[in-house]
């Protein structure tokens, strides 16, 4: 197995004329939490979406450079369904489907051909347990997922992502719409599952980055200014701009 789960090499991304990512290089190690921080509009979400090709949905989006997953180029040599099955995504706003909790979780496995009721039952229970929401919903699996609280919905979305057994989970500000307690639950959850997954998380909350991440990348204007161990980056940043940002002297 290659040392890095994901490598990004010389990635440039354009939204029509707008140059959103400029020569980005980053290696993401397996079984670690990598955090992306940086001011709004600097391209964190854009890079995150490039990692499972969600940018394909954006009209006028062009990409040059390479992104590899376990050494395989995801833009050239990989089926998009295979990629997205292995690299799951949790979005900023909880987006459960308007169907039952059970069907939400089972949607992914069903997409990938699992039909047996008993298999699905097992996956649903296991995923909900991993996302530490099983206790709260086990007695109402058949009820609509839209009836859950925001924090529960987000953990449901994490469970839904886990249900297809991905290796990497991308999270785009998963707690920015949530209260502190739900946020804490999701942070704990990330730390619990990181042994079996590779997690990349975008966050605006620097405390969050220091609490949970192993490595942190600081973005500015579409470039990665600094990428290092989280402790090192926050204590002794090597770039002046990073220092300005994390000490709040930015802009």
């Amino acid at each position: 197995m290659p040392e890095n789960k994901i490598s990004v090499n010389g990635l440039d991304l354009y939204y029509s004329e707008f140059h959103a990512l400029k020569n980005v290089n980053i290696d993401i190690a397996p079984n670690e939490i990598t955090a992306f921080i940086g001011p709004s509009g600097c391209g964190k979400s854009t890079l995150l979406k490039s990692l499972n090709r969600m940018n394909d949905l954006v009209e006028g989006c062009r990409i040059t450079g390479a992104v590899t997953l376990d050494g395989v180029d995801i833009y050239k040599d990989m089926e998009i369904t295979y990629l997205r099955k292995n690299v799951g995504m949790v979005f900023q706003k909880p987006n459960p489907f308007p169907m039952s909790i059970y069907d939400n979780i089972a949607y992914g496995p069903r997409t990938h051909g699992i039909r047996r009721k008993s298999d699905l039952d097992d996956i649903v229970e296991e995923s909900l347990k991993k996302a530490s929401i099983w206790n709260e919903v086990s007695d109402r699996l058949k009820r609509s997922a839209l009836g859950l609280s925001g924090g529960q919905q987000q953990r449901l979305c994490i469970a839904r992502a886990l249900a297809v057994k991905p290796e990497v989970i991308l999270m785009d500000e998963p707690t920015s719409a949530l209260d502190p307690i739900s946020t804490m639950k999701i942070e704990e959850l990330c730390c619990e599952i990181k042994d079996s997954y590779t997690i990349v998380i975008v966050t605006h909350n620097m405390q969050q980055a220091t609490r949970i991440s192993d490595k942190t990348a600081f973005f500015l204007h579409g470039e990665i200014v600094e990428f290092d161990e989280t402790e090192k980056l926050f204590s002794t940043p090597s770039d002046k701009r990073t220092e300005d940002y994390i000490t709040g002297r930015f802009g």
């Binding site: 499972n52 969600m54 949905l57 009209e59 998009i80 369904t81 295979y82 990629l83 997205r84 099955k85 799951g88 995504m89 979005f91 706003k93 987006n95 459960p96 489907f97 308007p98 169907m99 949607y107 992914g108 997409t111 990938h112 839209l146 979305c157 839904r160 992502a161 297809v164």
Partner: protein, 287 residues
């Protein structure tokens, strides 16, 4: 309105007499509209309900009993067949337009423009087209089928419009969620998008049903006006609206026409209520 609010209003109106005048005008307009509406409904009900009698619902139409039963059945058949034609066509067309076609595609623009134009055309024009196309050119004669095809074309824009609105109101985050799990376009559209838009699509279909039930002009020249139950789709038959039109036209059965009007009114009321109920449910789901 609370007392203080009212006093405040009176003060303002004294200062601005023009706005008082305007308020009065608005009030009168509202009252008049309500009055006209109530008058129509009240008139139909008062005139019609006493005329309802069992013989009006006899299985066979004769010139004596002028039964509306065949017309009721024909109406149901007309609605069912037309929806079978226009429903899938309209829904899938809108699915293509909103989900598959690229934005700014020329064909899309053309189809949209046509649909919007078709929506505003008087139904007699559809009737004329139906007569020339289905009745004459295709030699179907005055027949249920010619009528069905004609009203299908008529309700197509309506179904397309409401389906498009419903599909557009499905949040993109659902689509992203589905793609993010590795689902393809087909699965996303059929398992997530269309079910989420289901209520809105249904509301559009119910409006279309109302449109068919109320139609006369387009059917007169295509389905014809035969009062008996058509034995197959190539025979002529009349819907309730046409039945009523014929009764009042002949001048001898105005009472029975009034009774038919009651049944029509009730049907249309029920359908509109259903449409509103569904639309409300749709809003609740969106949260």
């Amino acid at each position: 309105m609370t007392m203080t609010g009212f006093r405040f209003d009176m003060k303002t109106y004294k200062k601005h007499p023009l706005s008082f005048l305007f308020m009065l005008l608005v009030w009168i307009a509202a009252a008049l509209t309500a009055a006209v509406f109530l008058a129509v409904v009240g008139y139909v009900l008062i005139k019609g309900i006493p005329q309802l009698k069992p013989s009006l619902f006899a299985w066979n139409y004769t010139t004596d009993n002028v039964s509306m039963m065949p017309a009721i059945i024909t109406t149901v058949e007309m609605v069912a067949i037309s929806l079978l034609i226009a429903g899938p066509l309209g829904i899938f067309c809108s699915v293509y337009l909103t989900e598959y076609a690229k934005r700014g595609n020329k064909i899309v623009k053309a189809v949209r423009l046509t649909a919007e134009t078709l929506q505003g055309i008087p139904s007699i024009v559809y009737g004329l087209f139906g007569m020339l196309c289905f009745v004459t050119s295709l030699k179907w004669g005055y027949s249920l089928l010619a009528g069905c095809f004609t009203v299908s074309i008529m309700i197509l824009p309506l179904i397309m419009r409401s389906t498009e609105e419903a599909l557009k109101s499905v949040p993109d985050s659902y689509r992203e969620g589905s793609y993010g799990l590795g689902a393809g376009k087909l699965r996303t559209v059929f398992r997530i998008v269309i079910p989420s838009a289901g209520n809105g699509i249904l509301a559009g279909i119910i409006l279309a049903i109302g449109r068919i039930i109320g139609e006369t002009a387009a059917l007169m020249y295509t389905a014809g006006t035969v009062a008996q139950l058509p034995e197959n789709v190539f025979m002529s038959g009349r819907t309730l609206s046409i039945h009523m039109y014929q009764l009042s036209r002949e001048g001898l059965h105005t009472d029975d026409a009034a009774a038919t009007a009651v049944i029509l009114l009730i049907t249309v009321f029920a359908l509109n209520g259903l449409a509103e109920y569904i639309a409300k449910k749709l809003d609740k789901n969106k949260l």
